[in-house]
């Protein structure tokens, strides 16, 4: 058990800067999810913590010890890979025991640790099998077993569920959550799946183009996205974003087509400012005044319904309502958000306007 401190960590490939200075202190036992689209640098960051990539600048400390110059084996970490990376010629037992054997643990100790991990992961029956004789979910559990038996200071997960089908992914997600509740080992978990991030994380680090867009608890990231990027990345369907301008008295936002939405509290300092207004589809509900839309498409998902609407100005607007569809293509609706569900972002920088 240990903290993991990432201090102004950078990574360059020649002139290209892939990671532009990430700072985060991960608490002992915390589950941190690195979330972002492919190519945002989240895997590179994880691999630098693991020691599989060199660190161009900054420091990584595990348990208070700077590990920049240490080999992966000396960092006291265990890693779970996307494609499992099990040794194909070894049995499940040998796969889990290999790292312990190299470290020269006594045979009885190895046996005990593997048996314990196998019991936790319900792999007891498979210890004599080869990875090729297991299903994808079982292989992933072996990969996690290999990490658990090491009893490391930190777990590193590199998109561990991406190779599984949707049903198995949900199941394994729950298992990882249970495991984490039970073991309480500091974990870094890379994913591009926002559901995994929301359900597993104590905190999420949202990355884009090598920059930390936001660090916060899942609900913070959902309720107060720090930037347009985060707003668009978290939430399904994504947040509606419309061009607008805060009026001269700072009391409301004026949008195209004469739509005017009152702000929950006046923002005098931002009066007259051009903004991007964000509204989550699930916060829109039918109202007497607000956005007048023409329904273009209705997706019935069973538990709820997504309505694709178009405003008079041509912008599209998504609305998500609970229950079965109540409208059809071509219908005209008026929807509006409650005042406290408005998100304001700077029109130029895309950063959230706090207040």
């Amino acid at each position: 058990m240990a903290t993991v401190d990432i201090r102004n960590v950078r990574k360059s490939y020649g002139p290209v800067e892939a990671i532009k200075g990430i700072d985060i202190a991960i608490r002992d036992g915390e589950f941190l999810v690195l979330l972002g689209p492919s190519g945002c640098g989240k895997s590179t960051l994880l691999r630098m913590v693991a020691g599989l990539e060199t660190i161009t600048g900054g420091e990584v400390a595990i348990g208070g010890r700077v590990v920049n110059q240490l080999d992966p084996k000396d960092r006291d970490i265990a890693m779970v890979f996307q494609n499992y990376a099990l040794y194909p010629h070894m049995t499940v037992f040998d796969n889990m025991a290999y790292g312990l054997k190299i470290r020269g643990l006594p045979k009885a100790e190895i046996r005990a640790r593997v048996d314990k991990a196998a019991a936790i992961l319900e792999l007891g029956r498979f210890l004599d099998r080869r990875p090729s004789q297991l299903s994808g979910g079982q292989r992933q559990r072996v990969a996690m077993g290999r990490a658990i038996v090491r009893e490391p200071a930190a777990f590193l997960f590199d998109e561990p569920l991406s190779n599984l089908d949707a049903k198995l992914r949900t199941q394994m997600r729950v298992e990882i959550k249970r495991l984490q509740d039970r073991l309480r080992i500091t974990s870094l978990y890379v994913t591009h799946d926002q559901v995994e991030a929301m359900t597993l994380a104590d905190r999420i680090l949202v990355m884009n183009h090598g920059v930390a867009e936001q660090i916060g608890t899942p609900l913070e990231v959902y309720q107060r996205p720090a930037s347009l990027f985060v707003a668009g990345f978290i939430g399904s369907p994504p947040m509606n974003v419309l061009d607008g301008r805060i009026d001269d008295r700072g009391e409301a936002v004026d949008l195209a087509g004469g739509i005017r939405l009152a702000l929950p509290q006046p923002r005098l300092s931002d009066a007259g400012r051009a903004v991007k207004l964000g509204v989550r589809p699930e916060h829109l509900a039918t109202a007497d005044s607000g956005f007048a839309i023409e329904v273009e498409l209705v997706e019935a998902l069973g538990a709820d319904t997504v309505v694709y609407g178009r405003l008079a100005g041509g912008e599209s607007l998504l609305v998500r309502v609970a229950g079965l569809p109540t409208c059809r293509n071509g219908d005209r609706l008026t929807v509006a958000p409650p005042p406290d569900a408005l998100h304001l972002f700077d029109a130029v920088t895309g950063r959230r306007l706090e207040g």
């Binding site: 992966p72 084996k73 890693m79 890979f81 494609n83 290999y98």
Partner: protein
């Protein structure tokens, strides 16, 4: 019987006929050799070799195996030549595998300066057949005093671009994550090689061993050049030396027996390693 089923019988029959004819073409000379090794030299010499065995076999084989001389000339006994050939074929096969698997491991898994330059250097030697460089190679071996030694016989043939390339291609199919997982487990390059790469290469090694053993066993030109003493004669060169230039009659019965004996080790290797050989060529166990 319906016409269509008789047609399908015909379609079944044709490939079998083709195969049987093919087998006969390949097997007949070997059969003649086998039969010839059981007759006396007089019968073979008259050109009227029957197609059934005779009783001279055991005597012929005993003479070929241990005898220093035939009826008409002096020979190196087969047991000496067999031993030489076996040493040569095994050294070449095992040496080639050892050298090429290590160099392929270096080229595939390590980043070092001039890595690709070394790879291409190995690669272009593929384009030079042994015969092209045989004179300089002979000069080197002669200057090192290795004429008529096992070292001179085998070392120049051990470097193998083909095997290096085959292993490299196989190593490239081993996912990087496996190497990374091993790094995190604490395995250094040597342990990774012994614990992971070698076991995964098992079937490839077996297939290459069969091919390279036969390659080594059948070497002709090089042994002919670097051996001059009778004690270093290999069986393939030995057989050709047994066949005279036409000025004297040949001990055909001994030559045939020697030939049959010369076939046995390669056949044994193929039969013993058949299962792995096919596996190594057909599937990659992953």
């Amino acid at each position: 019987m319906t016409p269509s089923s008789s047609r399908s019988r015909l379609i079944d029959l044709v490939p079998h006929i083709v195969l049987i004819v093919g087998v006969l073409v390949f097997v007949y000379p070997i059969y003649v050799t086998l039969i010839g090794s059981t007759w006396d030299s007089g019968t073979i010499g008259r050109g009227g070799l029957p197609l059934w065995p005779s009783g001279e076999g055991p005597a012929n084989y005993a003479q070929a195996w241990a005898g220093e001389a035939g009826d008409r000339a002096m020979y190196t006994p087969v047991r000496t030549m067999m031993l030489n050939s076996l040493v040569m074929a095994l050294s070449i096969a095992l040496g080639k595998i050892a050298i090429s698997i290590l160099s392929a491991y270096a080229v595939a898994f390590f980043r070092f300066p001039l890595r690709m330059a070394f790879f291409w250097l190995i690669f272009i030697t593929l384009m030079l057949p042994v015969e092209v460089r045989i004179i300089p190679t002979y000069k080197v071996v002669a200057d090192l005093g290795l004429i008529d030694t096992y070292a001179g016989l085998t070392i120049p043939l051990i470097a193998s671009a083909t095997a290096t390339l085959l292993f490299r291609q196989f190593f490239l199919t081993i996912p990087d994550e496996l190497l990374e997982a091993a790094k995190i487990d604490g395995a250094g390059p040597v342990r990774f090689f012994i614990d992971v790469v070698l076991p995964l290469s098992r079937t490839n090694i077996a297939a290459l061993f069969v091919i390279l053993f036969i390659y080594g066993w059948n070497q002709y030109l090089w042994p002919l050049l670097v051996t001059s003493s009778r004690d270093m004669e290999t069986i393939v060169t030995g057989i050709t030396k047994m066949i005279g230039t036409g000025e004297s009659a040949n001990d055909w019965h001994i030559i045939m027996a020697t030939t049959v004996l010369a076939m046995l080790p390669p056949v044994a290797v193929v039969l013993l390693m058949q299962r792995w050989f096919v596996k190594g060529l057909v599937d990659s166990e992953k």
